[in-house]
């Protein structure tokens, strides 16, 4: 099920909250679990089993690590079991198709591709359960004893399919007792509404511009090519952060505090900074479970470079089973290594505006690598961005600028921390806020109903 659907908004969600608020404290988790399983099964009934397997495996591993508390060897074995099983699930259901197709390119090899459909959210829930096992192993958290509570943690529908990646440590306490207050419910609801608006109006609206540009990748003028890249940058940011907003908002309405996932990423003044602001829960996952265990930056330059390459290769590949994502990760590895070891001194000296521009420039290029899975199309698109073979600007550019100008301005505006600034400067008028919110909500519903263009980006993750 997706959030941006009439069924979810007007039927599933009201029914859920009705049950959730009516039942007493302990039973809330059961309601949440049941609705989460329905939520998942609604689009993908077969794969509920994977969700259950992943949960059972890590629940048992957690308990076992607790039982063999004194025996580090045994504990390590259980940790390895968890990692192997979760990575196998990912390997089989997410990457096997790509590997088979790639092997088939070698003459003499001909393996049938079973073409397994990608289980929604598998990249998210396997990472959550793995983080739990690793945290228990490091004794950062205590093992969960109640299986239903653990399963609820893994499958909570707000963040099940597109994050944020919530670590057990983040919500372990709230899983057993949480407070639901009027303040939290209202602010959660507003957060959800804003996320919906970002997804339905801005991401979907501007996504069309990118699609049209990509369709003509070979014949774009210089300006149109860059405009298309900007459109994709906005599309993915508003789609993804909108989804996170909706998840965080729903979590609040249930009494959970999920970690933040975005912090105005396009305000970053270096690519390093960008990754502190973009998909924060993913980059911190890789940092604490891969980069730091590998030694981080404490084992000398050569080792640090290697660690960065490993982490960013994995991060890229996590985003989808296609080689362009690996290239995308490699691109970031290169940029981050250069930022860290070569240009650090220079970057400090140049004016902040220039740093911002360089950062955005690199990010836009990275998005083209990310967005185009087909390498020849990617080449064509990048060529349009770096040559004037299609002219500097053309009628199409002006047409798009007029057609998408308004959304582009709104998107640009919302990519800057305008709201936090206003909140500090202007005394909030509650009813005015309510009216603005109601109007945005109505607009979102109208756009949802139209439903002509409502693609869901995260099926690749």
């Amino acid at each position: 099920m997706v959030f941006s659907s009439i069924f979810f908004l007007f039927f599933f969600l009201p029914a859920f909250f009705l049950c959730y608020y009516l039942v007493p404290g302990k039973a809330k988790n059961v309601i949440l679990l049941i609705f989460s399983l329905i939520f998942y099964a609604w689009g993908e009934p077969k794969y509920v089993i994977l969700l259950v397997i992943s949960s059972v495996v890590d629940y048992i591993n957690g308990r076992m690590m607790e039982k063999f508390d004194g025996n580090d060897r045994t504990r390590k074995i259980f940790l390895i079991i968890s990692i192997v099983i979760n990575l196998s699930l990912l390997g089989i259901f997410k990457y096997s198709g790509l590997f088979i197709d790639t092997l088939d390119l070698i003459p003499g090899i001909n393996i049938n591709n079973p073409n397994l459909p990608l289980p929604i959210g598998i990249s998210f829930f396997t990472f959550q359960t793995m983080s739990y096992s690793m945290d228990v192993f490091r004794r950062d958290v205590k093992a969960e004893h109640n299986f239903l509570d653990y399963m609820t943690y893994v499958s909570m529908f707000p963040q099940l399919i597109a994050g944020p990646i919530v670590r057990y440590a983040d919500v372990g306490k709230e899983l057993h007792s949480r407070k639901i207050s009027l303040d939290k419910v209202t602010s959660g609801f507003i957060r959800f509404g804003m996320g919906l608006f970002k997804k339905v109006l801005i991401a979907n609206g501007i996504g069309m511009l990118w699609d049209e540009c990509l369709l003509n990748a070979g014949s774009l003028s210089f300006a149109t090519a860059w405009l298309g890249a900007v459109a994709f940058a906005f599309k993915i940011y508003f789609d993804f952060s909108g989804y996170s907003d909706m998840a965080i908002g729903l979590g609040k309405m249930m009494g959970f505090d999920y970690p933040e996932n975005f912090n105005y990423p396009y305000m970053a003044d270096s690519v390093t900074d960008f990754w502190r602001r973009w998909h924060i829960t993913l980059s911190s996952w890789f940092k604490s479970y891969v980069y730091i265990p590998l030694g981080g930056s404490r084992k000398g330059t050569a080792r640090t470079v290697l660690n960065l390459i490993i982490v960013w290769g994995l991060t890229g590949f996590w985003h989808g089973a296609s080689w362009n994502y690996l290239l995308w990760g490699a691109f970031f590895a290169l940029v981050l290594i250069l930022e860290k070891f070569v240009f650090e001194g220079i970057l400090k000296k140049i004016p902040s505006a220039v740093r911002h521009i360089i950062t955005l420039f690199l990010i836009l290029i990275s998005w083209v690598i990310f967005a185009v899975e087909d390498f020849s199309a990617m080449g064509l698109y990048l060529r349009s961005m770096f040559s004037f073979s299609g002219g500097i600007a053309d009628g199409m550019f002006l047409y798009y600028l007029r057609d998408y100008g308004f959304i582009l301005i709104i998107a640009g505006f919302l990519s800057c921390p305008v709201y936090p600034y206003l909140r500090k400067k202007v005394k909030s008028i509650y009813w005015a806020k309510c009216i603005v919110f109601a109007v945005l909500f109505l607009i979102s519903v109208v756009f949802l109903l139209k439903n002509t263009y409502n693609p869901f980006l995260y099926f690749r993750f």
Binding site: M1, S5, I6, F7, L9, F10, F11, P14, A41, W42, G43, P45, K46, L182, D183, V185, T186, F189, D394, G395, M396, F397, L398, Y399, Y400, R402, D403, G405, F406, I407, Y430, W431, C434, F441, I443, V445, V446, F447, L449, K450, N451, T452
Partner: protein
């Protein structure tokens, strides 16, 4: 504190009201504007669930019955206009109140050409005419928003002309339409069809090509039959400020008997449709698989000539002009008539054959390849 409560309760009530109204909406609804019945209720079964069909069907069912749906669609158009959009739901908002569909992305016209060539090859003694009028997006391209993508229909049109069997008369309706567009309204502003004037311009070209007497518009009794036509393109946009079109129709030039499916009339028009939303169906009674039009008193020049028209709905306002030139006209809508054209040619002793599809249909509809 109170304000928050009020807001939450208001939203909860509103959401619940929408949900209840959607659930209790009538089961059988016809969506007038979109000219289709509302999606039927989803069927719950393991198959539908596992194929993901249940998910889709449920969403369609709910969306089609959402309270105030049509008004909300109009609101959608208004919001888009307010945002300065030039294109809403695949339709360009053009100058002079025109709504013009963006060109089809598919390019299937060569399949149509091959099928027509093949049909001609099978029936060498029959005289063949082919007409593929481009749509408003090409003829009225000057009305499109600046820089808007207008497609390549003119190029396609020439390709069709060049790849057609030279024994088939290609009726060059494009230049006729281009010329006519300077003096008449040749396309509806709110519908994807050409007007009676557009059809007349193309008919004049056909007469020139076929050696018939080239008519003058004044030879016909053209009257306004409706002033409140909001067509299919308007339905896609739902702009509440759209200005309705007028429909003009030419009175039958000769007296005819028209056999539709299941009923016989003396008119090529069905006035019942004028009081409905789908007013273009006035021409040739909407969709009939097969229509036979016979001159009551055969004109000397037309005597013994039987024309088969294989066509899409562009022909519906075009065929009335042809009634003068052929004793008998058989009109086949191949999208609905499944028995094929060749057997009709044989059984009915067809002497002439006209293939008339607009370029948009030719490009989109891969099924046309099966016309013979």
């Amino acid at each position: 504190m109170r304000a928050k409560k009020v807001m939450l309760i208001a939203i909860a009530v509103l959401v619940a009201a929408c949900a209840i109204m959607t659930l209790f909406a009538p089961k059988d609804v016809f969506l007038d504007k979109e000219n289709r019945p509302a999606s039927s209720a989803p069927v719950f079964s393991f198959n539908t669930l596992f194929e993901g069909k249940l998910t889709e069907d449920t969403e369609d069912y709910l969306v089609d019955r959402f309270p105030g749906r049509e008004d909300l669609m109009s609101l959608y158009a208004l919001i888009n206009k307010a945002m300065g959009k030039n294109k809403v739901n695949g339709v360009y908002l053009c100058g002079d109140g025109y709504y013009i569909e963006e060109p089809a992305k598919d390019k299937n016209y060569s399949k149509l050409v091959n099928a027509v060539n093949e049909l001609k090859g099978k029936n060498p003694s029959v005289r063949f005419m082919m007409m593929t009028p481009p749509t408003a997006v090409s003829v009225l391209s000057d009305k499109l928003p600046y820089g808007a993508y207008g497609g390549s229909q003119r190029e396609d049109y020439n390709n069709i002309r060049n790849s057609l069997d030279p024994d088939i008369d290609f009726i060059d309706c494009l230049s006729a339409l281009d010329e006519a567009a300077t003096k008449w309204q040749v396309f509806y502003r709110t519908d994807h069809h050409w007007t009676t004037y557009g059809a007349f311009a193309a008919y004049s070209e056909l007469c020139r090509e076929e050696g018939f007497k080239v008519p003058d518009i004044k030879d016909y009794k053209i009257e306004e039959v409706s002033d409140s036509f909001l067509g299919t393109v308007d339905a896609k946009v739902s702009d509440p400020f759209a200005v309705p079109d007028k429909i003009y129709a030419a009175k039958e030039p000769v007296s005819v008997t028209v056999e539709y499916q299941g009923h016989t009339e003396s008119s090529l028009y069905n006035a019942e449709y004028l009081s409905q939303r789908d007013k273009y169906s006035y021409f040739l009674d909407n969709i009939n698989d097969r229509i036979t039009i016979t001159q009551n008193d055969p004109l000397p020049d037309a005597k013994g000539k039987t024309l088969l028209v294989i066509k899409d709905s562009y022909a519906n306002c075009f065929v009335p002009f042809l009634t003068e030139n052929y004793e008998k006209i058989i009109v086949l809508d191949t999208r609905y008539y499944m028995y094929g054209a060749s057997s009709v040619i044989e059984q009915e002793g067809v002497t002439d054959c006209l293939i008339l599809y607009n370029l948009n249909t030719a490009d989109k509809d891969a099924g046309l390849a099966g016309i013979y």
